[in-house]
Symmetry: C3
Subunit: 362 residues, 3 copies
């Protein structure tokens, strides 16, 4: 079997130390998807995100959205316990009342004076880099990161026909999956399992129509062709939503499945978009937030419902999480030996390579 | 106190590393009791067991019972989540449909072809050794283990008068005990505690009548004499079950308590058998499955009930688990110093020796 | 900022190894507050305490109160599972009936005989040192500890005017706080946070009136002045309890806040005393028992209620636990950098020094 590549050893999926290194290599230093800019509707709006244990506040200031570490610069107190909310003009620590502007600059620190050598400008909130693309928000916790475009430029170009920035979330589902985050991505990156695992999906698209783009260190993905007579991915294959008018012929007949490394899955349909953010919590546990996005014009139409798409993908997702969880369980066995990848699992072997290389420097 | 042997240090009962070494020495390489063959009534029947974290499927094929690791040879997926059930002719992975016969041979692997160098015969299910004695099933996870008879031959001979293979389970109780597995065995191996802990038992048999056989590395055990007028171990000392006709005079008046190392306790009575399998889950936690076995002829009699034996042993077992749990708790103290064994705790000192020797090679 | 001291690194508050060393340095070898002697009202009364995982029985014998490790000297069995209760004349192990007097001397050990070299006098219960001051009980788990007076002599002298030994507990509250035990002490040792965190307290005493005594390795503390017209710390500032007649003018107008290292906080008021014992359970978890003590003469008066003091401190305590928990959370951030102490946080810097020095020898 010289020709066939093999899975990675179990340690890649079950060891805490491996997991910690991955968190450092990908989540504490890469561009991490953290949701949609519409989550922050107005000045002062904030959401809290936890990246590899780091609590971050995403705050819309009058000029731009910023990310702040949720930590007081005085005694290390967590500034905010809420998952989302609104800061009225400033951010104040509840312990000794240190107060910052929405731009992260310290405005007040009672009983600290310049006479003692204290300077307000020395204690801004720590603020990692923040970027946006197509309405998606990304944060990068490393110092001086390369721009988001450096890695995702070609994806941005490829997906330009979808009016992503204008879309709005119609439904959100949160999953708690007992599987390694990489198993989720690997499951997303092959459709060899579709006939066995996804009978509903198999009625809409044939798994042999899948076509992959060569992987890069920043993303991997491919397409599947809709069967004749199928308009989009819903339980019926039908939809009363208009197809995005900016799409060309090919894009109207294919679904795009792209994994943006490390934590964002992007599924583009002719009439809606699904984005997933993956939040690894342990080697064997990943939280997944799944946002369904639609054209706001359609959403205002009488009779609009997100549920035909939601129902289909909720069913399909749960099937995927289930087999991913079974893989996670099986890999704990001392009898596990890396098995062979078939020729239809090429993206998985490529993903393995990317993951191995990324840990070299950590 | 030169004459008296001492307990082992607390580390033997509370350290994770010691526990891990014991799992390797005894559970991942010895003959482990896994239940009764009657648990698998027909071809295709299976039960799942977890030995030191290893998930095993015990499957009755048309010819014999086999043990399989519950792991797909393709991507490591767990094949089966149920505790017991029935395979219809084959075992199929739910992820990519790899399929094995009940003999463990791979029959199908979609999209893998001989052209790529793939051969079905290279991917049988991993299958550890399985053995039976008296209707009890044993599995050995080591490669090329010595036969079960090598260790238990003399016990098999001694217990030949009991028609164990023909007996059937009349009742099962599962316990979750917050004590080290060795404390359970040590508690089982002395009756010095009986006057204090077991008033009901003390009415049926005097603790000073206990008589032990010299221990071997494979088992330890002894007998207790029933008081005059007591027929068997029940709450009343009475029973409407017939005594096994194959028993000699001595065996009709004594109860045998044997611990088969590492995980099976076997209590032989004149009219029934109780077997326990011990499933260590952590240094301070052991699950125990307790099966009460009776003559099927008796079980078909009107008025048969297992409950007189069950009630007695459930009470007695819970008393034993309670004091074992208290010992586990006490050993966590920094003040714990190994105390002396009395002359009536000789099997415990012998068991300690066996345990210490067994870890030498691990 | 040469002038301002800085917080300690996060490891001091979140690392398990640091926590373990602190338990060894302070709780397994210092004088640990374990409650009030009135908890043991009569001969045979006992309470159980757990110091850094060590289970201790505090038992009132006919002559004195003693502390015993809750461990049988035979097989290490825990002797007693109850939190409090009464031993009738002796302490007996439930496993093999070894029996000790209330003085800790072994009286009986069935089936152990002098012929085997066994001597009862070799197996007393392990008994760490116990001391009392003002009705407060202390235990020291080290061998041959220096007397309690060596460390607390000056505090004992300072607080002699309060009739603490005669006071009785009128109310007890138990808290479970998700913060490091040192953050609790640090929070207790400054009132810079009072205007922000404690509006009710700020109505009774101005935070700038605080005055600290120089810290020693055994305690740190200071006072706050009651506002004019305020009699004591209650929601209203009023009280129908008499002020302790033995107090001088200064003591009638000030509250004393003293932290006795490692685990006791003592708040002295003109008419009542509050003592807290801290029970660290993990780097990020501390149980706190809070006892309110009053003059028994007052307690027998019609109309006596502890609740005006209890209500005030329960509110104030919960505010303190809350910000301490937020500090604990914030320190987990990789972005945390030790911030500056203001000149009003001097006791915290002193406490840091004491903590650092104490670990030198461990």
């Amino acid at each position: 079997m010289r020709q066939l590549r093999r899975m990675r050893p179990a340690s890649a999926y079950i060891d805490q130390s491996q997991f910690d290194r991955e968190m450092a290599a990908h989540f504490l230093s890469g561009w991490v998807g953290v949701g949609r800019s519409e989550d922050l509707p107005e000045t002062g709006s904030f959401v809290q995100r936890s990246i590899a244990g780091e609590k971050l506040l995403l705050v819309r200031g009058p000029d731009q959205i910023r990310a702040f570490h949720n930590v007081c610069r005085h005694r290390g107190t967590q500034l905010c316990s809420q998952g989302r909310g609104h800061f009225v003009g400033s951010i104040q620590c509840s312990y000794h009342a240190w107060t910052w502007g929405l731009d992260g600059r310290l405005r007040a620190a009672p009983h600290f004076s310049e006479d003692d050598g204290f300077r307000l400008e020395d204690f801004p909130l720590h603020s990692p880099e923040c970027a946006q693309w197509g309405g998606h928000l990304f944060v990068n916790l490393s110092k001086n990161p390369a721009p988001l475009e450096d890695g995702l430029g070609s994806v941005m170009k490829k997906f330009a026909p979808w009016p992503m920035e204008n879309l709005r979330i119609g439904h959100t589902i949160c999953y708690d999956v007992a599987a390694n985050w990489k198993l989720i991505i690997q499951n997303y990156s092959e459709c060899l399992h579709c006939p066995t695992v996804h009978p509903a999906l198999a009625r809409l698209s044939h798994y042999m129509t899948g076509d992959n783009e060569p992987a890069t260190q920043f993303y991997l993905g491919g397409t599947m062709k809709l069967n004749d007579g199928v308009k989009t991915m819903t339980m019926s294959g039908e939809s009363n939503r208009a197809i995005f008018s900016s799409l060309g012929e090919y894009d109207r007949r294919h679904i795009y499945y792209y994994a943006l490394i490390p934590n964002m899955l992007l599924s583009l349909h002719p009439d809606y978009v699904v984005s997933y953010t993956l939040w690894p919590k342990a080697p064997n546990r990943t939280e997944i937030v799944c946002d369904f996005q639609f054209d706001p014009v359609e959403m205002r139409c009488p009779g609009f419902s997100a549920m035909d798409a939601v129902e289909f993908w909720d069913l399909t997702n749960r099937q995927d999480w289930r087999v991913s969880e079974l893989s996670q369980l099986g890999m704990n066995s001392l009898s596990y030996m890396p098995g062979p990848y078939s020729i239809r699992e090429g993206l998985l072997a490529a993903f393995d390579e990317i993951m191995i290389k990324a840990l070299d420097g950590v």
